[in-house]
């Protein structure tokens, strides 16, 4: 663990830490383009120059390991001059089409120019015309070669992380161009990440393109609900200009660093899988079946109707199919209400999907639910499987089915069985966010919030419990599932009432052994594993949290 001095401040860092990372821990930012902590060091942008005492020449921070007693200066005249010149070189060959560039506002040419540039250009600016301007190079990514600063991050990503090798830098000198290899498409399952790591507007996201300027976005931390990995994400939502996004409130998802889960990355399925949040099929009002038709109703009416029907039947005649898209807190309330409160035995949660989830050996898992592990730990299912519940229902053993979220009619379940179960059951209550075939068969519909509209926590397949936060309010009359369950418990006069998710989690941690010791404070923004052993000391995250946007 060498101790070194950076700009007069002492710091001790782990062996092999480079100067950029060491400076980061002191809150000193050394500007750079090609360096990325998740990739190998290329050392080509020459922006991260620092002065090291006794060294004859400036050194690059990314490639200089910290050594004992080293004295580093990041802001001397010499360093500033080199930085400014390198920046000037980069800009001399840059199209400066910032007004039509999606990256504007989060472009590192702009940012560093404001911080370190601000000169009158003295260069000859006969810019080199390059062949590809705003060309799609894959399902998700657009390329603009003139904006590229040739840092090679995207190439290294495809070589080192996905190992799919779609991208290369072709040509030489200032005629160099970034491109896909002939006959290839940038279509690996993680292609969107190149947009995140591209420091400029050379690679842009086709989905996000021209939706909204980035400075109108709000940011909320969350967790991807796309599979049981639970990649840490940021939800970027359209905060100030809702009319710019064609009704899209969630503008994009970005991966958020978590060394235990996803490092810096997320997959494309997860990244672009959030569209259901603002989709046209969202259920925005509670509904009750009146005759053949489902009609809009108030929360008061629907909850009263639900409570009445539940009370009217014997708990053994109730089947509950919970949903591993629910948070730990919500699943706990499902248990509290149906199992502990009513004494139901027929509770399941997992429904096989029609096609294989296609897990890989990197991030993507086959289980497309974020909270299967949580559901299990909380003590669901009680019944053997959803199939068993449907079997019983089709035999006419149930009077009421409470289905959360699942579209049973387009799942991997035996479809005639689903049909006969739905037909044989008197009351079907559906609680979920989006409309589908199964919703049409319900008698009571309770509209719930999506992951982006609520708070709580998920437990990933490794047992890491991680927080999600509300980015946008629930659409229309929808409510977070925990609130719906809370209200239903009130209607059923169960005698409990929770103030918020933290309240629920506290109780969950007290009642479910696996969660013991956990609290929202302990979870922090990197989550914590089940079976956590609290110590007397204040909770310190196991690794320093690096907030990395680039």
């Amino acid at each position: 663990m060498p101790t070194l001095t950076i700009d007069g401040q002492q710091v001790t860092v782990p062996e092999k830490t480079n100067v950029i990372e060491a400076a980061k821990t002191l809150g000193i930012e050394i500007p750079h383009y090609c360096y990325h902590p998740g990739l190998s060091v290329a050392g080509n942008c020459r922006m991260c120059m620092v002065e090291i005492e006794k060294a004859p020449k400036l050194a690059i921070g990314c490639f200089t390991p910290c050594t004992e007693g080293m004295v580093v200066f990041t802001n001397t005249e010499k360093v500033k001059q080199a930085r400014k010149d390198v920046l000037e070189f980069l800009l001399s060959n840059h199209p400066l089409d910032c007004p039509v560039c999606d990256q504007a506002g989060e472009c590192w040419l702009q940012i560093y120019y404001m911080q370190h540039g601000q000169y009158e250009s003295r260069m000859m600016e006969n810019k080199i015309k390059k062949s590809k301007k705003a060309t799609s190079i894959g399902p998700h990514v657009n390329l603009d070669q003139e904006r590229c600063v040739l840092c090679g991050r995207c190439v290294r990503f495809c070589d080192e992380i996905t190992k799919t090798h779609e991208l290369g830098i072709f040509g030489r000198g200032n005629r160099e161009e970034l491109d896909v290899f002939p006959g290839k498409q940038l279509d690996n399952r993680y292609s969107g990440n190149v947009v995140d790591i591209c420091p400029v507007g050379a690679l842009t996201d086709r989905d996000f393109r021209f939706q909204v300027r980035v400075w109108y976005l709000g940011v909320q931390d969350s967790v991807c609900p796309g599979c049981s990995r639970g990649c840490n994400i940021q939800i970027h939502y359209n905060r100030n200009r809702p009319h710019h996004g064609h009704g899209r409130r969630v503008a994009r998802l970005k991966p958020r660093y978590n060394s235990h889960v996803n490092q810096f990355w997320m997959c494309d399925e997860g990244r672009y899988g959030y569209k259901f949040v603002d989709a046209g099929d969202r259920i925005i009002s509670p509904m009750l079946r009146r005759g053949a038709e489902l009609q809009m109703a108030t929360w008061g009416e629907t909850l009263a109707a639900s409570a009445e029907r539940i009370r009217a039947v014997n708990p053994s005649q109730i089947g509950v199919i919970a949903w591993p898209q629910l948070t730990n807190e919500e699943l706990y309330l499902v248990r509290r209400l149906f199992v502990d409160g009513l004494g139901c035995k027929n509770v399941s949660f997992s429904v096989p999907s029609k096609k294989d989830g296609g897990g890989d050996d990197f991030l993507i898992t086959a289980d497309k639910n974020p909270n299967t592990r949580g559901a299990g730990e909380i003590g669901l299912p009680i019944a053997d499987s959803t199939g068993d519940i449907l079997q019983a229902a089709s035999r006419g053993e149930f009077k009421l089915l409470h289905i959360f979220g699942h579209d049973l009619l387009s799942s991997g379940l035996d479809q005639p069985l689903v049909e006969s179960a739905l037909a044989a059951t008197e009351t079907v209550i559906f609680q979920g966010s989006n409309s589908h075939l199964t919703v049409d068969r319900a008698d009571i519909v309770l509209p719930s919030a999506t992951f982006a509209e609520k708070s709580g926590s998920f437990t990933n397949f490794e047992g890491r419990v991680q927080r999600i936060h509300e980015a946008v309010p629930p659409l229309g009359d929808a409510l977070p599932d925990w609130q719906i369950l809370n209200r239903m418990a009130r209607a059923l006069e169960m005698g409990w009432d929770y103030q918020g998710t933290e309240h629920i989690f506290k109780e969950l941690a007290e009642n479910v052994a696996a969660f013991s010791g956990l609290s929202y404070c302990v979870l922090g923004d990197q989550g914590e594993l089940l079976g956590y052993k609290p110590t007397n000391e204040a909770h310190i995250p196991t690794e320093p949290v690096t907030t990395v946007i680039i």
């Binding site: 400036l58 000859m124 040509g171 000198g173 200032n174």
Partner: protein, 615 residues
């Protein structure tokens, strides 16, 4: 050829070959390298063979195609042994006369001899001033050996150094090389012995040696010449190096634009393999080593060590940042020792003659000799091998024969494209690694381009900066963009668009590119500009402030006018001017219409009365 199984067997064979060579006293050498072939040397060989056959001498006199002995400009060179009568610029038509006169009658063909410009003809090769002042160690056998025949090399003492080295311990071999003070001839001037030692001491079973024959400097061709003319000297050096370092595999990375070098090398390697000098159990010592040839695509930057190794591995030939020296982690991350062609070729010399002898040649910190390719505005163009420390003046005037057409010397560019220009005041500079660096130039691979008064130094800087910009791999920002900026500013100055602030800007950019580039290409790319600025600042100023090119080279800044005193109105220029820009009455002084003139200079060339002035 039969496999040689022991060191002793090799000795016996060599002795036999030497005797055989001695008995064949009369023979003819024809330099037959790329430069000579371009002038028809293979036709000369065929013509000589044909003539000997006609005269019934085919069995007695051998005609040997050899490497070039360096006087490239005079090729094809033919030397008749044993008297060593040297003929220059021989054509196939001369064959009959050479055989008839020199071989049969023992007379000299006067018109084919070298004439020293003072009316003297020089008969013997060794007496040519071009050779007299040289000290030829690496080139000693150029012009004597048939590079495609290993027996020729063996007969002239070839592979004695290897025999010797194999009886020494690897430490002793390294010690010998270290003591000799040999420094790498590829440009950096690293101590070869030290480099070998660290590779020897690096961890790992598998190690490699590489010969860098990428030679990308415009104007430099000594490595090509050594590989074409004496490939076994390089191979022998590499085997000794591999033995000392503990490598079992070697590579020669040679540019594909050197087809003859590749051909001769491949032939030589095969012969060495057949003889048991390469492969398993070399000369029965249990040492295994072989060499493969890799052809490079001709990118200048691929001569840089990390780029070369990347290219050898099949990756893009771009330099890489490295913490660990390639001696510890190079090719395929194995300890690797890279040396230049000329460095390798020096190794057998050192082993044969001893470190002390070698170290007695040269200067305090630069030992041995160095081959320079002397080109440009010089009378004797060619490859020159001199002891380190030889003054520039001696190379240019004694060996090079001075500047043609009585023009004045202006500067000499050394060190290849990223070297610098040395002005006249420094002509007495002893040439070695350190002295050249001191004056803002460098040794580089040994290119020497002579410039006379008709050379514009801004134009020179523009040319070399342009070369480096074209060859910049583009990986790092300062070199990629900075060389383009410097070239653009230099072009602007040459084209009359120079701005007063440009000199300061050039200096600033130059230092940034120098200080911040990733590899030495960018690190030295500002040298041509900075060194000309250092020694010829007034020329830059003349271009920028007076809109004048003192050397009369930059077309945008010169005017052709007619000296009314000298013009007799012959009208030749008017006829030749492609623009019809010259007019005048017959027999009356003519004049040039500046609006029509495109400054092609044709009028000046055709005028027999020196009446056309440039200013």
């Amino acid at each position: 050829m039969k496999k040689i199984r022991t060191i002793a067997e090799l000795g016996t064979l060599r002795a036999a070959l030497e005797r055989e060579r001695e008995s064949a006293k009369v023979w003819i050498s024809v330099s037959n390298e790329t430069c000579a072939r371009a002038n028809g040397s293979d036709k000369v060989i065929a013509a000589l063979d044909e003539e000997l056959r006609k005269q019934g001498l085919a069995d007695q006199v051998r005609v040997k195609g050899t490497g070039c002995s360096g006087f490239c400009d005079r090729n094809p060179m033919v030397v008749v042994f044993p008297k060593e009568i040297a003929y220059q610029r021989v054509s196939p038509d001369d064959a009959a006369e050479i055989v008839g006169k020199t071989l049969i009658k023992g007379q000299v063909v006067e018109r084919l001899l070298h004439h020293d410009g003072k009316g003297h003809a020089v008969q013997h090769e060794a007496d040519l001033p071009f050779y007299r002042y040289q000290k030829r160690l690496v080139l000693r056998n150029h012009g004597r050996l048939d590079p495609t025949d290993i027996t020729d090399y063996l007969a002239s003492g070839g592979y004695t150094a290897l025999s010797q080295a194999l009886t020494m311990s690897s430490e002793q071999v390294i010690e010998e090389i270290s003591r000799s003070g040999l420094r790498g001839r590829g440009g950096g001037g690293f101590l070869t012995g030290r480099k070998w030692k660290s590779c020897r001491e690096a961890h790992g079973e598998t190690k490699y040696v590489i010969c860098n024959a990428d030679e990308g400097d415009p104007g430099a061709y000594m490595d090509r010449s050594v590989l074409e003319g004496n490939p076994h000297s390089v191979i022998e050096g590499m085997i000794i190096g591999a033995y000392a370092i503990g490598a079992r595999m070697g590579y020669v990375y040679v540019r594909a634009e050197y087809p003859l070098a590749v051909t001769n090398l491949v032939i030589a390697l095969q012969q060495a393999r057949d003889c048991g000098l390469l492969g398993e159990n070399i000369l029965g010592t249990g040492f295994n080593f072989d060499i493969r040839v890799n052809r490079g695509g001709g990118a200048f930057v691929c001569g840089e060590s990390t780029a070369l190794m990347a290219s050898l591995e099949g990756r893009v030939g771009e330099p890489e940042v490295k913490h660990i020296h390639t001696a510890e982690s190079g090719l395929w991350e194995k300890p690797t020792n890279l040396n230049n062609v000329e460095t390798w070729a020096n190794v057998p010399v050192i082993i044969n003659k001893g470190a002390d002898w070698f170290a007695s040649i040269g200067t305090e910190k630069s030992k041995g000799t160095k081959i320079f390719s002397l080109v440009g505005k010089i009378n004797n163009t060619g490859l020159v091998e001199v002891p380190m420390g030889t003054p520039l003046r001696e190379i240019i005037y004694d060996i090079g024969g001075g500047i043609p057409h009585g023009k004045k010397f202006k500067a000499i560019q050394t060190g290849g494209p990223s070297g610098g220009c040395v002005p006249e005041e420094l002509l007495d500079l002893p040439v070695d690694f350190d002295r050249l660096t001191e004056v803002g130039s460098m040794m580089g691979s040994g290119g020497m381009i002579v410039m006379d008064e008709g050379t514009c130094m801004v134009d020179v800087a523009k040319y070399f900066t342009g070369f480096l910009q074209d060859e910049s791999c583009g990986k790092c920002v300062p070199c990629r963009e900075g060389t383009a900026q410097m070239r653009q500013i230099l072009s602007d100055i040459c084209e009359g668009r120079g701005r007063p602030e440009d000199i300061d800007l050039l200096e600033e950019l130059g230092h940034v590119v120098q200080d911040t580039s990733l590899c030495a290409l960018g690190g030295t790319a500002a040298n041509p500009m900075l060194s000309t600025l250092r020694h010829f600042r007034d020329e830059y100023e003349a271009h920028i402030f007076d809109h004048r090119c003192p050397a009369g080279v930059c077309t945008a800044l010169i005017r052709y006018t007619i000296d009314v005193e000298k013009c007799n109105g012959c009208g030749v220029c008017a006829k030749q001017c492609p623009q019809n820009g010259v007019s005048g009455e017959k027999k009356q002084p003519h004049s040039i219409d500046q609006h029509l003139c495109i400054r092609c200079g044709i009028c000046r060339e055709v005028c027999r009365f020196e009446a056309i002035l440039v200013n």
